[in-house]
Amino acid sequence: MSAVRVRAALLTLLLGATAAPSQAETIKVMIDRLVYVPTEIEAKPGDEIEWINKDALVHTATVKGGADVLIPAKRSGRLLLKESGSFDYICRYHPNMKGRITVRP
């Protein structure tokens, strides 16, 4: 690879690196005694949700026909949001646990 091409590639990497992630956020949702807190969150595409499970029980964040994130006991689980829309989710193991994510561009 020539020096010019390397420089060009580096520049692309740097620009790419500065453009997207600076805007994306990690949104934290706590799980405490079988409740998602906060229950409803707003986000934008590129954001990531981190569920932090304080319970001694395994939970999930599951969108019907969509994402299914396993959140082990006393651990966390993450989901990268790609599309806009409003998504209701539940815990597959404890279907009375309910939350909603609204993704707006």
Binding site: R33, A56, L57, Y93, H94, P95, M97
Partner: protein
Amino acid sequence: MTIRLTTAAAAIALIFAANGALGADKPTDPQIAHIAYTAGVLDIEAAKQAIATSKNKAVVEFAETMVRDHEAVNSQALDLVKKLNVTPEDNDTSKALSQAAEAKRQELAKLTGAEFDKAYVEHEVAYHKQVNGALETMLIPAAQNGELKSLLETGLKLFQGHQQHAEHVATELK
């Protein structure tokens, strides 16, 4: 079948009501720990029977959750009694619960397929209803230790969820 299920539920209700009515015989913390632990173990055994017998995905998934959750809560309970240096104490309520569970296990062992699924899930609804009632009206109010009370309260919330989950599976089976 419905009559037999109702009888089992009524038997459990009576056991708890009798204990509650005695007033002075309110269970002690070591007895409460034993009752709560036993109730969990019995539900795990019932769930294992369902996992081995049922071919229904919703029923098996529900039973797997029962095993996972009750094992997690019982392990917390064991950690707590160890920390508090309490020895769980066997008592009439625990014994009656175990006897009722054994009778139910034998009854369910005679069933297969959809009949088994329906009977198991209906029993899970009734069982959680009764245990939750006992937690609310007898075990939680009687618990003296704050940490034990708090664990029972978390358990109640979880088991109320189990009851709703079982009710939902029961509707799907109809």
